[in-house]
Amino acid sequence: DQQVKQNSPSLSVQEGRISILNCDYTNSMFDYFLWYKKYPAEGPTFLISISSIKDKNEDGRFTVFLNKSAKHLSLHIVPSQPGDSAVYFCAASLNGGATNKLIFGTGTLLAVQP
């Protein structure tokens, strides 16, 4: 049972345009959501997060939106740059941070074309 789903395995965007990566979840008890970026042969790198009590969090070119009623979150990158090309994982946390265990989606490969 996949509790966190990223239905788009890949996305291709032109440099300078907006990249929108989507994530759906099934468990309404998730209290925190995060996005990680992963380059080949490296570990995932934390990008941005959002608490379940918020609906938007912005950090530079990156904005995460949370729609609790739809159990959906999205990551917007604008403007997209070739260095943003990587696999992006959506993750969710349960248990109010007691163990800080994360449940990851399967990832979306973003390719930003120069």
């Binding site: 990223q6 995060l34 042969a41 570990g43 997060s49 800080n100 990851f104 990832g107």
Partner: protein
Amino acid sequence: GAGVSQTPSNKVTEKGKYVELRCDPISGHTALYWYRQSLGQGPEFLIYFQGTGAADDSGLPNDRFFAVRPEGSVSTLKIQRTERGDSAVYLCASSPGTGVYGYTFGSGTRLTVV
């Protein structure tokens, strides 16, 4: 060191053999996590340490898997009687403590069981 260090970076072993994977977290980080990433999947939680104790080992798939962190710093993931299905990238992450969600991952150990 500056980041989370995992050794070896690659390990090839024969089916039925015993392997140990090592994780050296960021100095001072009390929380340590092991995840496993299979091909085409997101990281999957295995075990969480707070200090020396395993606070949550609910992700360990069976009793062939065991992890220790005897002095609250370096951790070793041990796999007995390896099977081909154990082939994956094993990721270690650390964070300063509970409630800190964007923890830092190492580059992982790619385990191949032949």
